[in-house]
Structures are given as C-alpha cells and as structure tokens.
Amino acid sequence: MLSVEKLGRREGRLQILHDVSFGWERGVLAVIGGNGTGKTTLLRVVAGAAKPNAGKVAWNGVPTSRAVRRGGVIGYGPQERNLDLAITLREFLGLCADLRGMRGRTDKIAAVAEELGLAKQLDERLANLSGGGRRKAMTAQAMLGASELIVLDEPTSEVDYAASRRFWAAFQARGKSSALVIATHDVELALTSADSILLLQRGLPSRLAPASSFAIDELSSAIGEG
C-alpha cells in the first residue's frame, strides 16, 4: 500500500508540492496536471528518488527512499531519456536486471518485451532508437520483473498511438498484481484505462477519484487552469 501523507517538496526557493495526501494499493493511478504542476517531483518522491521536505511517503510502511534499496520492490521510469549508447536494448535491460540482482534475466527480458511489444527492437542499439523508442526502453526497465510499485513519468509521450494503447493495456494488466502511478498527458487513454485519476493543480491535489467519474472536458479545463 502506497501512503502519501502531507507531502511537501521544495526545490531551492520554489515550493513545488504542498500538503499532498493520498493512498494507493493496487491498480493504475494516473496523475494528470498541466506543465509545471509538480507531477515529476511527486513521482520522484513516490519512487524514492528524492526525499520529501515535509510529510511521509511509504510503501507498506517503509519510506520509499528506503524501500527502493530492496531489489524488485519499486520500478521507476523517469522522464530523462538520454540513452545515446551503442549497447542494445537487450543489453540495457540485461544490465538493469543484473544490477538489481534479478535471476532468470533472459525470461524476464523476453516477458517485458512481449508485454510492451518491443521484441523486434531488442537487438537494436539504444542510440539508433527514436525518441519514442528510448522512452519505451525506459518504461521497459521500470517494468522488468515483478515490482510491487511501478512509477512511470509520461511513458507514452513521443510514443505512437498504437504503442500507447498497447502500453496502457499492459499497465492495466500489471495493475491486477501491482500498484502503478503514472504521470501522463494522454488524458483520453487515462480516462479509459486507469482505475483512478489524481488531478494536480499548482502542486496541490485537487481531486482523486475513479477515472469513470471524470469527464474529458472537466480534465481539460482543470489542466488549462494549471
């Protein structure tokens, strides 16, 4: 169970998140908000990549910054996609699996490639992948193995529509056994595929509710208001 209690995060003089509280046990939670509303910062803290300045973020009672130290608990796909390397996607995923101490990496790589439709790209060099391809690589490493909590920052930006649909279908399938927190601008796919939506406005959670309770116009105007 992911529990976020009165989370506050400051970057320099800028207070990015204020008093964010919510809980999430299983399924897909889409985090939606305009540019600069604190989605990436929230996800970094949730993934344990940054510590909160105020409040608590924990996975099953353990702060995420500590839970991330245990291999296979948290998978994180950040926005950064600077993967200008000559190693192949298969080698990249193999490296991530090895560094996390995962066993049976060949099977795990094949499984995640099948899940995300990346089987044909496995032997391509990262540097030769398109922007969308590198984004897919980042998502694939986050979903490698059976992480309990998967945090993805805009996994479908730069990704073509067909692949986006496939990704969201994969997220839904993973949601049956894991908790997924996904920041996205793909509002339509989030509405149809996510279990719930967390709407962020100026670093504050304005609403957390089942996706079915949102209307696209409502989300659109909320994003516009920032």
Partner: protein, 461 residues
C-alpha cells in the same frame, strides 16, 4: 554479477565507437612520446645525483611505469570521457536501482581495464622509442620482458588509483562537467606533487625507492626527476646497474605482492567512497548560491555573444576561480622567473580545460542557435570565438607581458604572442571536427605539460 556486466558493457560500448578507441590510442601514444625521454637524445632528463642515466631496458620500464603513474589520473579520465560518455552512463545508472558500491565496482573495473589499455599503448610508444636500447642489450626478447615487467609492475598502481577517482567522480559528478574536470585537475596536481614527490619515501606508492635501490643502492628517491615540475635541469650521464626483470630481482615478488595489495586497496576505496544510492537525473537544473552561473549569465547578457562565451567559460565553481587568481598572483610576483611560466601554464591549463565543452556546445548548435535569428552564420561566430579567447588569454598573460616588455625581451613577447594566437586558432579549428574537443584537450594538456615542466621556458633576448 551486475558489476561485471556493467564493466563488460562499458568495454563493448567503447569497442563500438572506433573513433573513440582510436582517439584513446592516439592519446596514449602521444602521452608516451611526451612523457618519455628519447633514449637517443644528447640530453637526459632522468637523473641521479645531478647526472642523467644511461638507459637500459629496466630503466625504460621504470620510466614508463613511473610516468604512467604520474599522468594516470588525467589520462584515464580523458580516455573514459571518450570511451564511455559519462552523462549518458550516469542516466542509465540512475534508473538501474542498484547499490552504489555495485555501480562503483563496475565503473572501477572498466576504468582499470582502460588504464591497463593506456599503459599498453604507452608501452608500445616507449617500445618504439627504446628499440635501440633493446637491440643494444643483445637479447631483444629478454630486454622486452625486463621492460614489460618493470613498466606494468610499477604502472598498475596508477591505473588502480585513477580508476578509483574515475568511478567515484563518474557516480557523483558526471552531470557537472566543470566540477569533474576541475576536481580531476586538482587530484592530478595533488597526486603528482604529494604522492609522486613529497611522500615517495613514506608511502612509496609508485615504488621509486625499490626501483632506484635496484639500480643505485645509494640513491635518493628525489633524484629520479624527469624534468617534471620540480627538476628540469639537463645533466651529464651516469651508468645504471644492469638489473633483471622484476620477478627475478631480489624482493621482486614481495614488491609485486604489495602492488597487488595497493590495487585491492584502491578498489576497496572506490567501494567505500561510492556514497549514497545513485538517484535518477533531475531534468530541471538547480542554482547553487555559490555558483557563478547566475552572475555570469546576467553580466554576459549585457555583452551579446562575447558575453555568452565568457559566461560559459567562467560559470565555474568559485574554487576554480580562486585557483586561477592564485596562479595569476604568482605570475605577477615572479613574472620573469621560471615560476611565472609554471603559473601561466597552470592558469591556462585550468582555462583550457573548459574549452572542449565550449567547442562541443558550439558544434552542437548551442552557441550557433543564439545567433541564428540574426542570420549571421557560423563564420562570424567563429571569429568572435577567436577574438574572445585571445582577449581572455591576453588578460591572463598580462603580468608576464608587462614584465617582458619592461625588460625589453622581444623574443619572450613573441613567444607569448604565438601562444595567444595559436590557442584560439586550434580551438576554433578543432571545433569543426568530430572528436575535436578530445583533440583540443590533448593538445592543451601537452602544452600545459611543456610549460609547467620547464620544457617551454621563456626564450632569452
């Protein structure tokens, strides 16, 4: 397991970049030619009690190993920058979600391998220069083995400690190139001056005591100077004892065992210093209160493109600027002396270390995009770049210029003017080439070495 995979992938990544590998080999060969004396030259720079040595395969091996130790920090950092792009690997390591020690071990293994590769290339360069020494020994293969055992027996320590520096900095400073280069530069100075010279007897990291004791039982460690930093005098010759290969030499096995222990110590130090878990990169930049970036960008905005160029160059952490001020201060006080040349070399070295970044920024469009709206094209930018560098170098050299002018030393002024023109020409010229930044780094370091070693003194008259 993961650490070995990381090291293996960095190596295979490097092998898929043939230009980078070639540049690294060239770097090592050039370094070999710069740092090793010519056995056939009518002077010698390796001395004993004020006298140069007559070279033997063991002496050449000792020089190769020792000089590699002295330059290993800079060589390994430069080589790894070309072979394994730090920022990109740092992006991968950030999402690997692995303990830092495991990442540090993988990076250490990769850098240690690169260090041995560099040593092999330098060894090759030394071999070319020392072929007459090997021939003169009458037993070419035997001479080669003696040469090999001494060079690697000594050099392996430099590769290990350079790998420690690389692995720690690559994890912590990969996304701060200014700091990375600055810390490398300072570590290099500390390594050479403190370990290489000051504490050679105490710690004997590079085995000088052992090496000299084998050649000259009565010698003092500080007598082994190659003209680098503290000894640049040319002296008459003296014969060295013939010694066998390192393993056959009395105490050689024990010596190698202690080198092995130092290598393990260096590796353990890398693991211990690897720090906290590596977090994924933050896309947004953060302004430190001590950073000059904000100040220089505000100031630079007032002076158009020239301001941007100066701003990019000097948006260094404050301490780097302090070092520069100290160097210029020494230059001012000691203007016509040898120390002034060393200070000038130091100041210019620090300054030139920034240029590879600027060249890259220029070629990748960072600077060009600033002038696109004015439809200036690349040439006006290149000309301004040239003028800007020349002006900044002139300011750095001003104390020396005044001192030379006051004493009427025309040759000295010409010597200085050539440098002020040549450096920006080289920078702007190489910026057009792929890999030009690495080549500029190499040329800058070579010139820096010549100045601080006393091999490029101010000409008389």
């Amino acid at each position: 397991m993961g650490a070995f995979t990381l090291a293996r992938l960095i190596a295979s990544e490097a092998l898929r970049r043939p230009r980078a590998v070639l540049a690294t080999i060239m770097l090592a060969l050039s370094a070999g030619f710069i740092i090793l004396p010519d056995p056939g030259a009518n002077y010698a720079t390796m001395t004993l009690h004020g006298a140069p040595l007559v070279y033997t395969p063991s002496v050449m091996g000792i020089i190769t190993g020792e000089m590699f130790i002295a330059f290993s920090m800079v060589l390994v950092m430069l080589a790894m920058s070309a072979l394994a792009p730090l920022r990109t690997w740092r992006a991968v390591l950030g999402v690997a979600s692995a303990p830092s020690w495991r990442l540090a071990l993988g990076l250490w293994l990769a850098a240690f391998g690169a260090g041995l590769f560099l040593l092999t290339c330098i060894f090759g360069g030394a071999l070319l220069r020392a072929s007459n020494v090997l021939n003169a020994s009458g037993d070419w293969l035997g001479g080669l083995w003696i040469f090999f055992s001494w060079a690697y027996g000594l050099g392996v320590v430099g590769a290990a400690f350079a790998a420690t520096l690389y692995s720690v900095l690559a994890l912590r400073l990969a996304t701060h190139p200014g700091w990375l280069m600055g810390v490398t530069f300072v570590a290099f100075i500390v390594w050479v001056s403190v370990f290489g010279v000051g504490l050679a007897n105490l710690f004997d990291v590079d085995g000088r005591g052992f090496a000299i004791a084998q050649l000259f039982p009565q010698a003092h460690a500080l007598d082994l100077g190659m003209g680098f930093l503290f000894s640049s005098h040319k002296k008459p010759p003296v014969h060295a004892h013939e010694v066998a290969d390192l393993i056959s030499t009395a105490g050689g096995i024990r010596f190698l065992a202690t080198r092995g222990a130092l290598v393990v110590t260096a590796m353990l130090a890398a693991l211990a210093l690897s720090g906290s878990r590596v977090a994924p990169l933050v896309v947004r930049g953060r302004n430190s209160k001590l950073s000059l970036a904000k100040f220089t960008s505000t100031l630079g905005a007032r002076f158009g493109l020239a301001g941007v160029i100066v701003g990019q160059t000097w948006s260094l952490p404050l301490w780097a600027l302090v070092l520069l001020v100290v160097a210029i201060g020494v230059e001012t006080i000691k203007a016509p002396n040898q120390l002034a040349v060393i200070a000038l070399g130091f100041a210019w070295g620090l300054y030139m270390l920034r240029w590879p970044e600027l060249c890259e920024a220029f070629e990748q469009g960072g600077l060009r995009s600033l002038v696109q709206p004015s439809v200036m094209g690349p040439w006006p930018v290149r000309i301004r770049l040239f003028i800007s560098i020349a002006l900044q170098l002139s300011i750095l050299a001003l104390p020396l210029t005044l001192a030379l002018a006051a004493t009427g030393r025309v040759h000295g002024l010409t010597w200085l003017a050539i440098q002020i023109v040549a450096a920006p020409l080289l920078c702007v010229g190489l910026a057009r080439l792929r890999g030009g930044a690495t080549m500029f780094s190499l040329a800058a370091m070579a010139w820096w070495y010549l100045m601080v070693s006393g091999n490029a003194p101010i000409p008389a008259g």
